[in-house]
C-alpha cells in the first residue's frame, strides 16, 4: 500500500502538472512560429444545420487561404443575449472576435473592453464603401473605430398579401398613408373569425420600442438631441396614439387580445389571422422558418408617411486583450466572411443552392462599387418573390435611419404603459398619458445623466 507521504507527493506533482497544463492564458499559439488562433463568436448553432455547414466550409476555405490562422468558432443562438452580454465580458468568456448588437457597442467602448482597430483597418478593402451611418456606430467618442458591422435593418410594414386579396385589397399597393392603413385594417378585420387588421406590441418593453418606431415615422423624437429631456410629448407622439386608439376602439381592427409581444404577433401573422404589423425584413424569414409561413404570402412596404425609420443591426468587435497578430487575423476573417460580396455570409449563390432564402430586402449597407456588386449578386440568386418587397426596397434609400434613444429600455418601459393604456382602456386620454410619461422619463434621464 502507498504511504501517505508518497501519496501526497504524487498528488502535489499531479496538481502542479495539471495547473501548468490548464494555465498559460487562452491556449492560442499567438507568437509561436507565426501561427495564430482566434476564437470567433456567432458560429451558427447545431439547430441551424445549413448555416453551420456554410460556416464550416468558409472556415476551411479561409484557413486554406491563410494557413497560419486557425479560426475557432463559438456557437450560440441567439448570437448575443443582451442580458448576459456584460457578464460574459466580465467573466473573461468573450471571444477574441465577438459579436455585438449596435445598441451595445457604445457600452463596450465605454467599458474599455474592445480593441482600437483604427490603425489595422487599412487592410480592409470594403471599409471606404461601408455606409457612413453604419460605420459610425462603431466609432467611439474619441473618433477611433472599434468594430465592423455585419448587417443592418430598418423597420417597415410587413403585410399579409393573402389577407389583402381576401379583403378585396390590392396586395401590390400597400397603404402609403396612415389613413389608408386604417381603412385597409378595417377591411381585413371585417373578414371575421378572429382576423386582426393591424397589431402592435404593448408589453415587455416592446410597446415602447414600437411607439418609438411609429414616432420616428411621424417625424418625432423620443428624447431631446442632448439626451436630457423627453421629446415624445409632441403633436407627432399624440398622432401615433390617437391613430392607435381609433383603430383599436372606433374601427375595432386591432383585435381584442392586447399586451402582445413579438412572438404573439408572429404567431398571428403565420396563422393567417393578421393583416399588418411593423417589423424589420428578417421577420419574414422568422415567419417561414419558425412558424411555417410561406414567402409568397408576405409583402414589405415602408412605414406609411415615414419621415424616418428606426434602424439597428449587429457586427463584430475585437477583445481588448487580443494581441496585434490576433487583431490582424480577426480583421482578415471579417473581411473574408462578413464583408466581401460573393463570399462567406454574402455567398448568395451557395445560399440559394442550399435552399436558403435569398433576395429579402436590406437597407443599403454599402455605397459605390461594392453596393453595385452586392446588389447584382443578390439579384442573380434571388429565390424569394422579390417583387413583394419592392415598395420597401424602393423607399429604403430615401428614408433616413435613426438609432434607438439613450437609456432605451428604461424609456421603453415607461412607454409600454402608454401603449397598453391606449390599447386596453377605451377611455384612455393620449394627451394625459404622454404628459405623465414625459414626467417619468424626464426623471429617469435626469438621474442617469
Amino acid at each position: 500500500m502507498m504511504r501517505p507521504r508518497r501519496l501526497m507527493v504524487l498528488l502535489t506533482a499531479g496538481l502542479a502538472l495539471t495547473s501548468t497544463a490548464c494555465g498559460g492564458g487562452d491556449g492560442s499559439k499567438d507568437a509561436s512560429g507565426g501561427k495564430v488562433s482566434i476564437t470567433v463568436g456567432c458560429m451558427p448553432a447545431k439547430s441551424q444545420p445549413t448555416q453551420r455547414r456554410e460556416w464550416n466550409e468558409d472556415v476551411a476555405a479561409f484557413q486554406k487561404l491563410h494557413p497560419d490562422i486557425t479560426v475557432v468558432g463559438k456557437d450560440a443562438f441567439p448570437c448575443a443575449d443582451p442580458k448576459t452580454f456584460m457578464a460574459k465580458l466580465a467573466g473573461g468568456q468573450m471571444e477574441d472576435v465577438f459579436y455585438t448588437y449596435f445598441t451595445d457597442v457604445q457600452n463596450v467602448i465605454k467599458s474599455g473592453q474592445a480593441a482600437d482597430l483604427t490603425k489595422y483597418l487599412g487592410s480592409v478593402k470594403q471599409l471606404p464603401d461601408l455606409q457612413p451611418s453604419v460605420k459610425s456606430v462603431f466609432t467611439g467618442p474619441d473618433g477611433k473605430i472599434y468594430g465592423l458591422p455585419r448587417q443592418n435593418y430598418s423597420m417597415g410594414l410587413l403585410y399579409n398579401r393573402k389577407l389583402f386579396k381576401q379583403a378585396g385589397l390590392n396586395p401590390d399597393t400597400p397603404p402609403a398613408t396612415w389613413a389608408e392603413l386604417r381603412a385597409d385594417a378595417k377591411k381585413i378585420a371585417a373578414l371575421g373569425k378572429g382576423t386582426v387588421g393591424y397589431a402592435d406590441y404593448s408589453a415587455g418593453n416592446q410597446g415602447g420600442w414600437h411607439f418609438t418606431t411609429e414616432l420616428y415615422g411621424q417625424g418625432g423624437d423620443v428624447v431631446s438631441p442632448d439626451g436630457k429631456k423627453a421629446a415624445f410629448n409632441s403633436p407627432q407622439g399624440l398622432a401615433v396614439l390617437e391613430n392607435l386608439k381609433q383603430m383599436r376602439w372606433t374601427d375595432d381592427s386591432m383585435g381584442s387580445k392586447q399586451l402582445l409581444q413579438l412572438a404573439d404577433v408572429q404567431q398571428l401573422m403565420a396563422a393567417g389571422r393578421l393583416g399588418m404589423y411593423l417589423s424589420a425584413p428578417d421577420n419574414v424569414t422568422a415567419l417561414v422558418d419558425q412558424f411555417q409561413g410561406s414567402y409568397k404570402d408576405y409583402g414589405l412596404a415602408p412605414i406609411p408617411e415615414a419621415k424616418a425609420t428606426l434602424i439597428g443591426g449587429d457586427g463584430y468587435m475585437v477583445n481588448v486583450k487580443a494581441s496585434p497578430a490576433k487583431i490582424k487575423a480577426g480583421l482578415l476573417w471579417l473581411e473574408y466572411y462578413v464583408l466581401t460580396p460573393g463570399q462567406g455570409q454574402l455567398n448568395y449563390q451557395r445560399e440559394a443552392r442550399y435552399g436558403r432564402a435569398v433576395g429579402l430586402p436590406q437597407p443599403d449597407f454599402y455605397t459605390g462599387s461594392t453596393a453595385t456588386t452586392d446588389h447584382s449578386l443578390r439579384a442573380a440568386s434571388a429565390n424569394v418573390p422579390v417583387a413583394n418587397y419592392k415598395p420597401y426596397e424602393d423607399a429604403s434609400a430615401r428614408i433616413p435611419g435613426k438609432l434607438e434613444p439613450a437609456n432605451a429600455q428604461q424609456v421603453y418601459a415607461v412607454l409600454d404603459s402608454v401603449m397598453s393604456a391606449v390599447l386596453t382602456d377605451r377611455n384612455a386620454d393620449p394627451g394625459r398619458l404622454l404628459a405623465t410619461a414625459q414626467q417619468k422619463v424626464d426623471g429617469i434621464l435626469a438621474r442617469s445623466n
Binding site: M86, A90, S256, K257, L259
Partner: protein
C-alpha cells in the same frame, strides 16, 4: 494468540489503566465526528457558494455602480434613492402586496379545504391526490403559457365557458381591474397541489379519537374542523402561512410571461422590477437595491410573525 499478545490485550483491558477505554471512545467519537463534519463541510461549501456568497455579493452590489466589466464604484445609497424615485417603485410594492393578499385568500384557504375534503373521502383518494398534485409537476412556464390561452379574450377557454353560460366575456389580462387577479388564479392553480399534500399529511396525524369525542359531544362538521382540526394542525398552518407570504412576495414568472408588467403597470411586481433594473436597464446596483429592500421586508415580517406566533406554535 501468543502470550505477548494476550498480555497486551489484557493490559489494554486492565482497570489499572483507565485512560485506555476512554481514549478508544474518544478516538471513535472523533472518527464518527469526522464523517459528520465531512458531510457538514459539503453542505456548508454548497450553501456558501450558491447561497451566502450571492447574498453577500448582492448586498455589496446594492451600494455600488458596476457593469461587471469596469471598476465598481461605491455610491452609498444612490441606488436606493434612484430606485425609490422610479414611478414604478410604489406601484410595484402595492401590486406585490395586493397579489400576496389575494394569493393568501385563495392559495391558503383553498388547499386546506381541498385537503379536508380529500381526507374525508373514502374512494378514489389516491387518484384525486394525483389530480390535485398534477399541476405542480408541470414546468411553471408551461402552466403559465397554458393559462395564456385560457385567458385569450377571443377563443380562450374561460370566455368560451362564460359565453356558454350566456355571460359576457372578460378581458382577463388586458384590464387593469382583472389582470392581477388573473395572475393570482394561475399562481394558485400551479401551487395548490403542494400545499394540499402537506395539509393532508398533517390531517392524517390527527388522532381519530378526538373526532369521535367531538362527535359524541354533538359537534357537526364545521365545529369539528374548528375545534379539532385547526388546533391540531396549527403548527403546520402557521409555518405554511409564513412560507406562502415569503413565496408570493417574490412573484415573478406570472407577470413576466403573461403580462410583461402591463396593462399600465398593473402587474409590475417588486421582483419583476428588479429583473428590469438588472437585465434590461443594465443597472445591477438598482436591481440589488430592490432585492435588499425585499429581503429586509421579508426578514422583518418573518421575525415579527415568529415572535407573535411563538406561543401558538407550541
Amino acid at each position: 494468540m501468543t502470550t505477548t499478545a494476550l498480555r497486551k490485550a489484557a493490559s489494554r483491558r486492565s482497570p489499572s489503566r483507565p485512560a485506555g477505554p476512554r481514549r478508544t471512545a474518544a478516538r471513535y467519537g472523533v472518527r464518527r465526528g469526522l464523517s459528520a463534519y465531512g458531510f457538514l463541510c459539503g453542505a456548508l461549501i454548497c450553501f456558501a457558494l450558491f447561497s451566502w456568497y450571492p447574498i453577500v455579493r448582492e448586498a455589496l452590489l446594492g451600494f455600488q455602480r458596476t457593469n461587471f466589466v469596469g471598476r465598481s464604484e461605491w455610491v452609498g445609497l444612490d441606488n436606493f434613492h434612484r430606485v425609490g424615485a422610479d414611478p414604478a417603485f410604489g406601484k410595484a410594492w402595492l401590486n406585490t402586496l395586493e397579489f400576496t393578499g389575494l394569493a393568501l385568500l385563495c392559495g391558503y384557504v383553498l388547499p386546506f379545504v381541498t385537503a379536508l375534503v380529500l381526507n374525508e373521502l373514502r374512494h378514489a383518494r389516491a387518484y384525486l391526490r394525483f389530480v390535485v398534485y398534477l399541476p405542480v409537476m408541470l414546468p411553471p412556464a408551461v402552466a403559465v403559457l397554458l393559462f395564456k390561452w385560457f385567458y385569450d379574450p377571443g377563443p380562450g377557454l374561460f370566455n368560451q365557458l362564460l359565453h356558454l353560460a350566456h355571460l359576457p366575456g372578460l378581458n382577463w389580462l388586458d384590464s387593469t381591474s382583472t389582470a392581477l387577479l388573473s395572475l393570482v388564479i394561475v399562481s394558485t392553480w400551479m401551487n395548490m397541489g403542494s400545499g394540499t399534500l402537506i395539509y393532508l399529511a398533517a390531517l392524517q396525524s390527527v388522532e381519530g379519537e378526538l373526532y369521535e369525542a367531538a362527535e359524541l359531544d354533538g359537534a357537526g362538521l364545521l365545529r369539528r374542523v374548528w375545534h379539532v382540526t385547526i388546533p391540531q394542525t396549527r403548527l403546520i398552518l402557521l409555518v405554511m402561512l409564513l412560507l406562502q407570504v415569503i413565496a408570493t412576495m417574490q412573484v415573478f414568472i406570472e407577470p413576466y410571461l403573461l403580462t410583461g408588467g402591463g396593462p399600465q403597470d398593473a402587474t409590475v411586481s417588486v421582483v419583476y422590477l428588479m429583473y428590469q433594473y438588472a437585465f434590461n436597464f443594465n443597472s445591477y446596483g438598482g436591481g440589488s437595491a430592490l432585492g435588499l429592500m425585499l429581503m429586509l421586508v421579508l426578514m422583518v415580517f418573518s421575525a415579527a410573525y415568529l415572535r407573535l406566533t411563538r406561543d401558538d406554535g407550541r
